[in-house]
């Protein structure tokens, strides 16, 4: 699937120096919320999500001119957002010299520190369960559960086979179920 007509027009405008900023702003406005929530679910904290968002869109600014239109723009944007989120979490790991479990623990702590956090509400419990998942499974679950992304597109975002993604999602759901039922 190639880019949509709207995106095609925006890309065309972006390649013209006179309309570049205008087209870029339109792209940001169009995709910012989706990407924000994808990033926020992964890094939990708003300030961290904002930092990652800025990095993502700066990369988009620098790379959009060379974007090949044989892929959907949003697939490309999600790939950048996923990679930037993972990079951010790895930096967090290196900085604190802690293991993945501790990072997950750190993310859970950030969740519990949220002013609206309520451990008795299922939606918060679900968020706690998601933070226990390994990074890749977390991304797969979020993309499928929240963003309702088809496996075909997800395969392009994460550069993983559809079969592997289905299996990953299956495992993730089972782990979440287990967490909710047993904690």
């Amino acid at each position: 699937m190639s880019v949509t007509q709207d995106d095609k027009e925006l890309l065309h405008l972006f390649r013209d120096l006179k309309t570049r900023e205008q087209a870029y702003t339109s792209i940001v406005k169009k995709y910012q919320e989706k990407l924000y929530w994808h990033i926020r679910r992964l890094v939990v904290d708003h300030d961290d999500a904002n930092d990652v968002m800025q990095n993502v869109f700066i990369k988009v600014w620098k790379g959009l001119e060379n974007f090949r239109e044989d892929a959907q723009l949003y697939t490309w944007l999600y790939r950048i957002a996923s990679n930037e989120s993972i990079s951010f979490l790895e930096q967090l790991k290196r900085r604190s010299s802690v293991s993945f479990d501790d990072v997950s623990g750190g993310l859970s702590e950030k969740l519990t520190a949220d002013k609206d956090f309520d451990p008795n509400k299922l939606e918060w419990k679900l968020q706690m369960a998601i933070q226990q998942l390994p990074e890749k499974q977390r991304i797969v679950f979020n993309l499928r559960y929240y963003d309702e992304m088809p496996y075909e597109e997800m395969s392009k975002v994460l550069e993983t086979s559809e079969g592997a993604l289905k299996a990953s999602y299956h495992h993730a759901v089972k782990k979440i179920e287990d967490y909710i039922l047993n904690r």
């Binding site: 702003t25 926020r40 800025q54 299922l122 929240y146 039922l181």
Partner: protein
Amino acid sequence: MPVENHILNELNTISQTVANIPRLPVFTVPENYFVEFPGKLMEKIREDAKIETELLSPLLGGIQKKNPFSVPDGYFSTFEEQLKKSTLPVVMPEPAKVIRMSGTRQVWKLSVAAMVAGVIGIAAWLFYQQNTAIDLPAQVNINAELPKVSEQEMNDFLLSVPEMPATETPQVAGLENLNIEDMLKDVQDGELQDFVKDMPELQPEKLN
């Protein structure tokens, strides 16, 4: 948030517990975050570009991005109109009308052409004839005609022709009776020896 059926069905087959969890937003964002984000992002991109330039060349980074050039008043407001004028299609002049000549006119045309050709032909023939007449005497057989000329006519002819140039031989020039010894008797010995020196072919060894 409506969920796509096939995704909900898939989730139901894996875990009904998870499928039944209400999809309520748990995270919040600061007010106007999405309204302000694009503008702030653009500011950051410009700032980053400025810092990059300053790092590459502090001198260039310190120069204000002020346009030093100016354009005539109203240039941009009238530009489109000027462009239209200069790109208007060029009106080509209509091609000249071709008038077909009538039959009478054609006969006249052919007659005039024939007359001109005739005049040129006759003139050329006359010119050729005249040149041929001038060359006629050259073609007369002199041996056959010479006996017909009388002696008087011949004498008159010889008297009218200027004297023929003589051939440059000692006999013709009247030098055959001159003695070399007489000619050289006034020449000094020294002059003669100098002459011999100047003429290598007269050296004694060459003469032997």
